[in-house]
């Protein structure tokens, strides 16, 4: 039900998630934040069932904070991605697996802009752009068409807006609100809050 979008630009990574929390046919909340800030230049958008996204998001956030305290430097995007992947891969064969999908965005000196796709099984892929959920069916082709290697920040945000427009136009499930975030060397900031009017 929940759509996640992500796209890399040459100096930042743009990620977006819808802001609807629903239980079966009822909308419980329409301004939910599905983004977790995992570090100064690291953030993820996460979706899934039954409270797992919130719990798993916080769990990863706290563990990455602990790593920084213990080792006196923070895990970069590559390390964090593999740490999160290992947690998911161990979870899938446990008594009750986490049921989450996520997109991890990070900026670093060595890697530049990095976007990672992960699913509940612990599959990991570093991608230039990607999406989760039903929204992916409408968004991936748009991103295939419009994305360039050396996209600027504004171009990337424009592409995300195009994808959101298409999702809102063609997906039968109403997703009126989206939040867009930019992860750059200056940090994680909310770029836009496309909220439904009250």
């Amino acid at each position: 039900m929940e759509s996640l979008l992500g796209i890399t630009a040459n100096d930042c990574v743009i990620i977006a998630a819808d802001s609807t929390t629903a239980h079966s046919i009822s909308v419980m909340k329409h301004d939910q934040t599905k983004m977790h800030k995992l570090g100064d230049n690291l953030a993820m958008v996460i979706s899934g069932n039954a409270g797992d996204p919130a719990i798993f998001g916080d769990f990863m956030q706290k563990n990455l904070a602990l790593y920084k305290i213990k080792n006196q430097y923070a895990l970069g995007p590559h390390g964090a991605a593999h740490y999160i992947r290992r947690t998911l891969a161990e979870s899938i064969r446990s008594r009750r697996p986490y049921s989450v999908s996520l997109l991890l965005a990070g900026m670093s000196e060595d890697e530049g802009s990095a976007l990672y796709y992960m699913d509940y099984l612990g599959s990991l892929a570093k991608i230039p752009y990607g999406a989760h959920g039903y929204g992916a069916y409408f968004s991936l082709s748009i991103m295939d068409r419009l994305h360039k290697e050396d996209c600027s920040r504004d171009e990337a945000i424009a592409i995300i807006r195009e994808c959101i427009k298409e999702i809102q136009h063609r997906l039968i499930i109403n997703l009126p609100s989206f939040k867009i975030y930019a992860v750059s060397k200056d940090g994680v900031e909310e770029v836009e809050d496309l909220s439904m009017q009250e």
Partner: protein, 202 residues
């Protein structure tokens, strides 16, 4: 095994081996990435290709690299391809009743004897060591057909490259879950040549 899709093939030539894999990572019908790594070096002249569930491809390749590194530190020499097959077989059989959904292929040239070697296992580690070629993934039927048609014994490295490239490209074209490009490694006693193939991106 049909969740992510993959195709890996290895062939024996004259004093060389070739191993090739497709590059697709998808979730059933939806393609997520076209540069997913399925062949991993476990030494200078030994490569392992893994097919099946993507998460298990990553986990098994990491666990195998760990065992390979420990072996190298203890023995001061690298794992030979034949021994690596035994290590993988053990790794997979340890999970006999909750297996990794992963079918590996080993391809390499023994650094002491110079003999080319290929092998494959099923998901619980049963090894097979044919003299000609091994295939794995969602396109095994297609790959078997292609390999049987184009393979000859004692192919030189350049000819082997052509042969394995034709085999994998034609095979994955008939499989919706595999393809989106391919990567080929030719392993000889004195070096490894890696080439990426341009294929149909559908």
């Amino acid at each position: 095994m049909e969740m992510n899709g993959s195709a890996v093939v290895a062939m024996v030539g004259k004093d060389c081996v070739a191993i090739a894999a497709d590059r697709r990572f998808g979730v059933q019908a939806q393609t997520v990435s076209c540069d997913f790594q399925k062949i991993f070096p476990m030494g200078d002249r030994v490569f392992v290709g893994l097919t099946g569930l993507a998460t298990d491809i990553i986990t098994v390749s990491q666990r195998l690299k760990f065992r390979s590194n420990i072996y190298k530190l203890k023995e001061h020499r690298e794992l030979s391809p034949k021994t690596l097959t035994a290590v993988i077989s053990n790794l997979l059989y340890e999970r006999r009743f909750g297996p990794y959904f992963c079918e590996p292929i080993v391809a390499g040239v023994d650094s002491t004897t110079g003999k080319p070697y290929i092998s494959g296992c099923d998901l619980i580690g049963c090894p097979v060591e044919p003299a000609d070629f091994v295939v794995a993934g969602t396109s095994t039927d297609q790959l078997f057909g292609m390999c049987e048609a184009v393979w000859k014994p004692d192919l030189a490295p350049e000819e082997l490259f052509e042969t394995i490239s034709q085999a994998i490209l034609s095979a994955v074209d008939r499989d919706a879950l595999a393809g989106w490009g391919a990567i080929v490694h030719i392993i000889e006693k004195d070096g490894v040549t890696t080439r990426t193939l341009k294929g149909r991106m559908d």
